[in-house]
Assembly symmetry: C2
Homo-oligomer: 340 residues x 2
């Protein structure tokens, strides 16, 4: 046991191991890397010693030499709502799936939360660090322009977010505008004529959701207004309450930018004694777990998060291989429950 420990600590480098095995470091490297050039018996012996001593080649050294690290960077740019987004259920779920997919492909994940306002060249810094082979950006926030800039000179990058005509960076995301249309159509079909959009329209994907809803409202002759609301639950609660008070009775449908916001709307509506869906119809977005657990359960526009994560990783892999891939736009899906 104790001699096991002493011998164990002795083998720290490939050279130590080589000495033990009576071969050169090069051979050890080749054996451990599974190259075909090394004799079967030699390889076995080396592997045995490696196993016995729990030896792992140093990834830093390996990465330096091979000029690739086996690490993918995942950046979460936080806009104004700093505190919020990192714990935003949607992004976190996406992150979880990304971790799964990347692990599956043999990559590690380096997570970086960035505040673009404090740190103008967050993206260049991340990429230029030499620590990552490629980067996934979760959410464009208000950084569209900067991402476009970088995309011109750096291939292995995939972004979660909204697709715009003619953009140059590779993006994966739900068709927000279509989703917005679906939401508005449902609200109107359920009898709404005076619709409020609850959410922040600054981030590009939310703007698209609103725009989609506007399309439909205009076409079907319904009213729609945006009620600017932050995404962080603590601030949103008050804002929603204020919105409802201000709009007092003049609203018969709400399209919430997010299920989280929709749930808060539900609470606020209940507090004011407004019946859902009878007096006000409500549609959310995302289909987070919470959507099915509210009272009444939320009608919402579903985003397929798992498919999104898989898509991002697959596209990134192809870009790592040098291919210039197209963007991937996923179809949203209306999930009808009882809030409208």
């Amino acid at each position: 046991m104790s001699e096991d420990r002493t011998t164990r600590t002795a083998v720290r480098t490939i050279t130590d191991l080589a000495r033990l095995a009576g071969v050169s470091p090069g051979t050890v490297s080749r054996a451990l890397a599974g190259k075909s050039l090394v004799n079967a018996k030699t390889r076995e012996k080396i592997e045995a010693i490696a196993r016995e001593h729990g030896f792992r080649p140093n990834q830093m050294a390996s990465g330096l030499r091979r000029q690739k690290t086996g690490v993918i960077g995942v950046a979460i740019p936080l806009g104004h709502d700093v505190r919020q987004q990192i714990s935003d259920t949607f992004f976190m779920t996406l992150l979880g799936h990304l971790a799964d997919e990347l692990t599956l492909e043999g990559y590690d994940l380096m997570l970086r939360r960035v505040v673009p306002e404090d740190d103008a060249d967050w993206l260049d810094r991340f990429i230029g660090s030499g620590m990552i082979d490629g980067v996934i950006v979760i959410g464009q926030s208000d950084q569209f322009a900067r991402i476009e800039d970088v995309a011109d000179g750096y291939l292995p990058m995939v972004v979660w977010g909204n697709h715009q005509q003619g953009q140059r960076h590779c993006v994966v995301g739900t068709d927000s505008r279509l989703g917005g249309r679906m939401a508005a159509e449902r609200l109107i079909a359920a009898g709404a004529r005076r619709i409020a959009f609850v959410g922040d329209t600054t981030p590009i994907e939310f703007a698209a959701r609103f725009a989609g809803a506007e399309d439909v409202a205009q076409r079907m002759g319904a009213d729609i207004v945006a009620l600017p609301t932050h995404l962080s639950p603590d601030r949103a609660s008050d804002e929603i309450a204020r919105h409802l008070a201000a709009a007092d009775g003049r609203i018969d449908g709400i399209f919430a930018a997010t299920d989280t916001l929709a749930a808060l709307c539900l609470t606020a509506l209940r507090e004011r004694g407004i019946a859902v869906p009878e007096a006000v119809r409500l549609v959310g977005f995302d289909d987070l777990p919470i959507a099915s657990q509210t009272v009444p359960p939320l009608t919402t526009v579903r985003q397929d998060i798992a498919a999104g994560a898989r898509g991002m990783v697959q596209l990134l892999l192809r870009r790592l291989a040098g291919e210039e891939t197209e963007s991937l736009v996923l179809p949203p899906q209306l999930v009808i429950r009882q809030s409208s």
Copy 2:
């Protein structure tokens, strides 16, 4: 613009930059590292060139030479409920706060999701990779023994989870047993006499929550049973429904291991037409955002996630500095709402 780009690509290494600045690589290194030994004018010139070309020293090379990487590994061991935990709200929130705290301290975060069953020495592998300066393990899952083993020979590790008498690894976590006691006390104070614990008692922290509740039940002469339930929402729903059906009317209080489970209980109870808190009192655990949004809002045992994250990072920093720190046990807090 285009010459900007060509010159930009020219400066990839510290040596390139040195050539441009007319000094030696060593000087550039010192200047960029902010050492005092370099002349003010020289430093300025070097910094100017670096800024102009967007140069960043390669972290891999730096890490190799300095034998430290500036990266902290965060491992999330997934037990039987593989699919669940990575998107578990509690862990994800903790992860978010960890990212914040680590960023604040100048560290990057490498996230690794591990399935201990498939990969026996996940922890050694992570540590031995040479990519991380220290490791934070989120949740002990069923890996207590393995973590103890590693802790003997590796200082910079902090684990989120339950503290046990005499354990050797540094852990940060809420006093689950105390939390369990609080929950049971509240249930009994609210009139419950036949309590059910909904959750999986295999993971050590849940076992402690149950044990705490048992303490109180026994002392106060109430009944308590554990109803084994998986944590993933899809499986849990059915299981809870089945539990309720089986227990039909013989239960007047539920202690859910998690707010997520509590919310599901609420839904299931409503479906069976059981009034909360009148017929059945309900207490959750964690105080996740969802707790305040259910109908009725959940009485729950609050864990201070932000404090936990901060504590873990601070302890890890001290351990990185060579100090053998104690564990940190945080006090839970009963938040009384309307479900009991």
